[in-house]
């Protein structure tokens, strides 16, 4: 029987097969190394950008740099108006983006029926995430600055950035809400909770970590945004501070700062980097170090929070 079969089957060349397997293994190793090399290259470029900024900017960093207004003399210039402006704009952004973003997420996850309104909202959220940031600036220039008459103010900038980060907040809040299992909802209903009680007493507290992660990521994105703020016409040379939001006399709160002209950190940096004078470029690097530190700390915090949330929750 075997004797008859033998001629039909070609004898496999063992040497040849070993060679093939070895070559395959070698290629696989080379490929894996290439992948690792590409990854390392990307990280190295990032590192080079950080170090370049640090070497240029670190010598300029000082207490005076934080507390001085911009100046015509590079060595006396500081970022006081820039970081105060950034802080105020961020405050407006947060106050606008958090309720709207989380509200929209709750609606889409808990209330929305499967109809065309829901589809329309979902398509628009996805679409907005891909709109270039400078286009938001044009929207704000046409709508907030001129149609609504908000002017080139802290309020305009804050609302613009709020719209810009809305998709980030909505998407991550939805993910956090979706991670809460259905039986939690059913248990709340079984105890007689209304839908809103279930959401405010159970869903939101349980998904707090995930929602917070999204908010922090959104704020980190907003604080580094330059293009939309340039477009709405932020000034680059501001040697005064907006009026303080909190005053010593009654009623203790003052809203004049919302209408004030302002500058923000990335704008100040752009102004300095686009000057040919090397001394100003060093100032730009120093402002960049501060800006970068803020975004990286916020992102690190978000990554850490997400890791904690993922680790802790066992439903």
């Amino acid at each position: 029987m075997t004797a008859v079969m033998q001629p039909a089957v070609e004898r496999p060349d063992v040497q040849e097969m070993r060679r093939l397997v070895a070559a395959g293994k070698r290629n696989q190793l080379i490929f894996a190394m290439t992948g690792l090399a590409c990854t390392i290259f990307a990280v190295l470029v990032l590192l080079a950008a950080f170090l370049d900024l640090l070497f240029d900017g670190l010598p300029r960093l000082s207490w005076e740099f934080m507390t001085n207004f911009p100046s015509r003399r590079a060595t006396e210039a500081g970022i006081l108006s820039a970081w105060v402006g950034s802080a105020m704009v961020m405050l407006v952004t947060m106050l606008a983006a958090v309720p709207i973003g989380v509200g929209a997420a709750v609606y889409l996850e808990e209330y929305a029926k499967k109809n065309w309104v829901t589809d329309l909202i979902e398509i628009n959220v996805t679409n907005l995430a891909g709109v270039p940031s400078i286009v938001y600036g044009l929207l704000a220039l046409g709508l907030f600055v001129y149609q609504f008459g908000f002017g080139e103010s802290v309020l305009t900038a804050g609302l613009t950035l709020a719209l810009l980060i809305l998709p980030i907040v909505i998407v991550s809040s939805r993910e956090a809400l979706r991670a809460v299992p259905g039986h939690i909802r059913e248990a709340a209903y079984a105890m007689g909770a209304t839908r809103w009680q279930m959401i405010s007493d159970h869903l939101l507290p349980y998904s707090r970590g995930g929602i917070l992660t999204g908010i922090i990521l959104g704020m980190a994105e907003a604080i580094g945004q330059t293009a939309p703020i340039i477009t709405i016409g932020a000034l680059t040379f501001i040697a005064f501070l907006p009026p303080a939001p909190i005053t010593g006399e009654a009623p203790f709160v003052n809203f004049a700062w919302l209408w004030s002209e302002f500058t923000v950190l990335p704008i100040q940096m752009y102004n300095w980097v686009s000057r040919p004078d090397k001394a100003f470029q060093l100032n730009a690097a120093a402002a960049g170090v501060i800006l970068l530190a803020m975004t990286l700390v916020m992102n690190g915090l978000a990554i850490y929070l997400r890791y904690q949330v993922r680790k802790k929750i066992k439903w």
Binding site: G24, Q28, F31, A32, T34, G35, L36, C38, T39, F41, A42, L46, A48, A49, D52, L53, D56, P99, I100, V102, G103, A104, V106, Y107, L108, Y111, V117, N124, T126, N127, L128, G130, P132, S133, I134, V135, Y136, G137, L138, G142, L143, Y146, L166, W196, G224, Q225, T226, I230, G233, T236, M269, Y270, V273, S274, A285, G288, L291, T295, L296, N299
Partner: protein, 285 residues
């Protein structure tokens, strides 16, 4: 009542899209009262701020496309290889370390990358391989935008590859394939629509990138595809004009909305195509 308030929060997204479209189209219509659409789309000279202005959008488009092309030349191969590596080769530990690092790259404010392109990459290129490179050029910002776009491609393409069902890989292994053969001849073809979607979405991001090019690519519209020359992009033009004193309602003011409309149209086409492709692979498995 609460439901209605929450619905309104959701509708803000719809309102924003509508407002973007209305504002851009409305202001552009004002622009096209002064400039014929044909001259705008076919003209090769863009000098809206000159005493004798000329409004041909092609130089801004050529600048945008050149920078985007260089960026993709960097980001597509690197992003794809990193995605394959993370999805098919890297162990759990490496992945947990690399993904946050990639997220960090994506999180760096683009103005920082602009500084890097102008004051590190351009001098570096001038000192090493391209001594004749001018201080403003499209090459350096293109390369930097490319690196900044790597995380987009890497993470979207990796998602697509991980969505390929395990049993397809196991089938290939059972036939004697090694990891590389599985990655290249099974996973890549199966995930191809998702990977292409990643490229398309990354291209949209590169086109919309503003600060790197505004700082390092120069400010003058220049009808060229030569990366060694300085040329403004659509985004850089908008930023540059907005910085100056802009009279509300002037032609220059309206020209930034016209440029914005072109920009939005380009990114919209790519984004829609990208999401269509992504949905296809989600449906497939």
């Amino acid at each position: 009542m609460i439901e209605f308030v929450l619905l309104c929060a959701g509708l803000v997204a719809v309102f924003t899209t509508a407002a973007i479209t209305v504002i851009l189209v409305y202001e552009s219509l004002g622009f096209f009262e002064f400039v014929s659409l044909w001259d705008f789309l076919t003209g090769t000279v863009w000098t809206p701020l000159f005493a004798n202005p000329s409004y041909g959008i092609l130089p801004l488009i050529s600048g945008t496309l050149t920078v985007t092309f260089i960026a993709l030349l960097v980001a597509v191969p690197m992003g794809t290889i990193i995605a394959i590596y993370l999805s098919e080769f890297a162990g759990h530990r490496v992945r947990e370390a690399v993904k946050p690092a990639l997220e960090m790259i994506a999180a760096v404010p683009t103005i920082v990358f602009g500084y890097f392109a102008l004051l590190f990459v351009t001098p570096l290129l001038q000192d090493t391989i391209l001594p004749n490179l001018p201080g403003f050029n499209m090459l350096a910002p293109g390369l930097v935008v490319g690196v900044a776009t790597i995380p987009t491609i890497a993470s979207l393409a990796e998602d697509a590859m991980r969505a390929v069902p395990m049993n397809m890989r196991e089938g290939a292994y059972a036939l004697g394939s090694n990891k590389m053969q599985v990655a290249l001849s099974v996973v890549m073809p199966a995930a191809v629509s998702g990977v292409v979607a990643a490229y398309v979405l990354a291209a949209a991001r590169a086109i919309g990138e503003t600060m790197v090019v505004a700082i390092a690519a120069g400010q003058n519209a220049n009808f060229t595809f030569n990366p060694m020359e300085a040329a403004a992009t659509l985004t850089a033009y908008i930023a540059q004009v907005s910085l100056g004193d802009l009279e509300h309602g002037s032609v220059a003011y309206r020209s930034i909305f016209a440029a914005g409309l072109v920009l939005l149209a380009m990114t919209l086409v790519l984004n829609v195509a990208g999401h269509f492709l992504r949905r296809r692979y989600w449906k497939a498995y």
